[in-house]
């Protein structure tokens, strides 16, 4: 049986009439079709999905545990491990392998250098290794000890080098994504909730209420955001602060994480509230809002059932374009050491902090800058997706 083309078929019956009247497409479908034509934005979306999946499966993809390191033999500031693809004797392609490294002092600069022990045995890279003493959980639920790849002791494979303690940077960047990629997305919701609620209320009631909220936004705007963030994050991170005492918080890693989300959202809802307010100011005079009121709908219903949804397409775009900003802010805070702490997480900002630490000369350890690349890619992709969405929602730019 063939499916009839709507344009050729007879007039459909019943509830299908309404759908055909608007071309058989919902708003969401139109937007998605428009978005799909925006190739760069689509690439951004795919890359982002890959990054989020990689962060979620960090335990599986990473060869080591997040805080795993060994004191002996020393592995601090080890450069990225060279992986050999060819057999040094025959020159033919072979199974990828690594050598063990030994540390030496450079006679001139006194810097520690690592030299491959090419006389020693070769350690082939193994795939799907089980490491029973280093288990991890995926999404906090499934426990496992299966790793995508690894090498046998005593050799080790550090794809992107190690930090001052000898922790594997590749592993830590994967885990860092869990913090840096999610904080922005969560903070946007806090900011959105505050901004929408206050914006709608201010726009709907007008008068004194409006004045109050808009002055509040101005006051928040008057203090430079970064300084406000620094002060709030530092003070609230301390478990002895009065607010934590009041709620009995210990500021564990999860609580610190949520605190940062809250602070980011709190500092940034002003702009959104202001725009939503001006949208609502004009929307509430529309016929349908007046009609709802005349039908006896309560104020809350008019505000949140009738006015708020009308701002949805605008809000979605703002939301997407706000996320990269939040990611940058979180990374900056962590760079100052004010984000989630060193031991239980490895935000990308925190990893970059190592590169400016005292006593580190960046020209000898350039790989410490690698964590900046995923930040760049993530922020870029969010911007691309946001721009794509904006164009997709804009009827003037339909293609």
């Amino acid at each position: 049986m063939t499916v009839p083309n709507p344009s050729q078929s007879q007039m459909p019956k019943g509830k299908d009439v309404a759908k055909v009247a608007v071309g058989g497409k919902t708003q969401g479908r139109i937007v998605w079709e428009q978005f799909r034509k925006h190739h760069i934005a689509l690439v951004g979306l795919v890359v982002l999905l890959l990054m989020y999946v990689a962060a979620a499966f960090a335990g599986f993809l990473a060869p080591y545990g997040m805080n795993e390191y060994r004191r002996t033999p020393v592995s601090a500031f080890m450069p990225p491990t060279t992986i050999h693809w060819t057999d040094p004797e025959t020159g033919r392609l072979t199974r990828p392998f690594v050598y063990e490294f030994v540390s030496e002092r450079d006679p001139v600069t006194r810097q520690r250098v690592y030299v491959e022990n090419t006389d020693g045995p070769r350690y082939p890279i193994q795939f799907f290794v089980r490491r029973p003493n280093q288990t991890y959980r995926i999404l906090g639920i499934w426990q496992s000890d299966l790793r995508l790849f690894g090498v046998e002791d005593p050799a080790r494979v550090f794809l992107w080098g190690t930090n001052s303690l000898g922790k594997d940077l590749f592993t830590r960047i994967l885990y860092g994504g869990q913090v840096s990629l999610t904080i922005g997305v969560l903070a946007v919701w806090v900011s959105l909730t505050l901004g929408l609620t206050f914006g709608v209320i201010a726009g709907f009631y007008g008068g004194l209420v409006d004045d109050f909220f808009m002055r509040l936004v101005e006051v928040l705007d008057a203090i430079p955001g970064l300084f406000l963030l620094i002060v709030l994050a530092t003070l609230l991170k301390d478990p002895r602060n009065p607010l934590a005492q009041l709620f009995g918080l210990q500021m564990t890693s999860a609580q610190t994480f949520l605190m940062i989300v809250m602070v980011l959202g709190f500092v940034s809802w002003g702009g959104l509230a202001r725009t939503i307010r001006s949208l609502v100011l004009s929307l509430r005079e529309m016929d349908y809002a007046q009609a709802a009121k005349a039908l006896g709908a309560s104020e809350g219903r008019v505000m949140f059932r009738h006015l708020l949804p009308a701002t949805a397409s605008y809000v979605m775009v703002i939301l997407t374009l706000a996320i990269p900003g939040f990611i940058l802010t979180e990374v900056g805070l962590s760079f100052l050491g004010l984000g989630p702490s060193e031991l239980d997480s490895a935000s990308w900002g925190l990893l970059l902090r190592d590169a400016t630490a005292r006593g580190v000369s960046i020209q000898f350890v350039p790989w410490l800058l690698i964590p900046g690349i995923p930040i760049f890619v993530a922020v870029l992709c969010w911007n691309l997706v946001g721009d794509g969405l904006r164009d997709a929602f804009d009827p003037k730019k339909r293609r």
Binding site: R215, L216, E218, V219, L220, D221, A222, I223, P224, G225, L226, F227, L228, I230, V231, L232, T234, L235, L236, D238, R240, N241, P242, L243, P324, L328, V331, G332, F335, L336, G349, L352, A355, T356, S361, I362, Q363, P366, L369, G372, I375, F376, V377, V379, L380, N383, L384
Partner: protein
């Protein structure tokens, strides 16, 4: 004009009061107070602690503390710094000055780079050059400031390694840390000025790049809109040259939103400067603020918050006034 200025000025007062109140409330989040730290030292007696509390007014209720602090604030007194035992004003003046130099320099650099780029993209719309500019501006939008600074520092070191091996020239192309060279105090004033400018190049450039993207994009849109409007067609019909049309007729109205944006730019520049200051060891506000907050030196923290918000509001006011001057369509009656 004058009544407008005065009215705008009075409009600032409630906002400023609100900002100080917010800052003060936040300072109440400090666990314990400055004296609590002293109390942990074994050789400090309880009477000493009580005396210090009374001396700094820490034994009073919060509201009383706020009113007292506010009272001295309007007289230009920001209180005493606990840790260095000096008036707060003395402690925070230099860092604020240094940050302002940097932000000012970055702003000028931003305008110098962004205006030609925006005009270029608008005039050569959809060409390769236009697309290159937009690609570069995406780059500036996505790279974190402090990371860009770190990359540039690394680049300078690598370049030095290269020049040392090929030319035997072993000093850095640009300074990568601090605001002055060694022995700066003994330089002539002219030399001192150039030395600071010299140190500002890298951090200033980094701070400017972050805002170039947005700036260029909006300017491009504005220019395209104006270039397609009737008065430009009239100008062309009169036989005016391209250059004059672009720069005299289209750029002038297109630049107006940016004059208004100076005020809005300030917070992002100050914020952006913050992290770069840390990487480049610039003796500005952010490093001192972090330091003060770790020492729980509340009045210094408050001083920074209050003065920076005051500067911000003044910046906004100035940009509004500039806007009223630049755009004859704005009525300020």
């Amino acid at each position: 004009m004058l009544p407008y200025i005065i009215r705008r000025f009075f409009h600032l007062i409630p906002t400023f009061l609100g900002a100080t109140l917010l800052a003060f409330l936040i300072s109440q989040l400090v666990p314990g107070d400055f004296v609590t730290q002293r109390a942990l030292e074994p050789n400090v007696r309880q009477e000493t602690i009580d005396r210090m509390r009374a001396q700094f007014g820490l034994d009073q209720p919060v509201l009383v503390q706020y009113v007292r602090w506010m009272g001295s604030l309007v007289q230009g007194d920001l209180g005493m710094s606990f840790s260095s035992n000096q008036p707060v004003m003395n402690v925070i003046r230099r860092p604020i000055q240094n940050s302002l130099y940097l932000v000012l320099f970055a702003t000028i650099l931003l305008w110098m780079m962004a205006i030609p780029l925006g005009v270029f993209s608008a005039v050569r719309q959809y060409t390769f050059g236009d697309q290159a500019v937009s690609a570069v501006s995406y780059f500036g939008l996505a790279i974190p400031n402090f990371f860009f600074a770190q990359v540039l520092v690394l680049g300078l070191f690598l370049f030095r390694g290269f020049t040392r091996e090929t030319f035997g020239y072993s000093s850095l192309l640009f300074p990568v840390a601090g605001m002055t060279s060694n022995g700066w105090e003994n330089f002539t004033p002219w030399h001192q000025f150039w030395d600071i400018m010299w140190h500002m190049i890298i951090p200033g450039f980094v701070i400017a790049t972050a805002s170039i993207a947005g700036f260029t994009r909006v300017l491009r849109g504005q220019m395209i809109e104006y270039l397609g409007s009737d008065f430009i067609r009239t100008a062309r019909a009169k036989g005016l040259g391209n250059r004059s049309i672009t720069y005299k007729h289209a750029l002038r109205p297109a630049i107006i939103p940016f004059i208004a944006g100076i005020g809005a730019l300030l917070p992002s520049l100050i914020g952006g400067a913050g992290l770069v200051e840390i990487v480049m060891a610039w003796p500005g506000i952010t490093p001192r603020l972090l330091d003060a907050i770790q020492r729980q030196d509340i009045y210094v923290v408050l001083g920074f918050l209050v003065i920076s918000s005051l500067l911000l509001m003044i910046g906004n006011l100035i940009s509004d006034l500039l806007l009223a001057v630049a755009d004859p369509r704005i009525r300020y009656g």
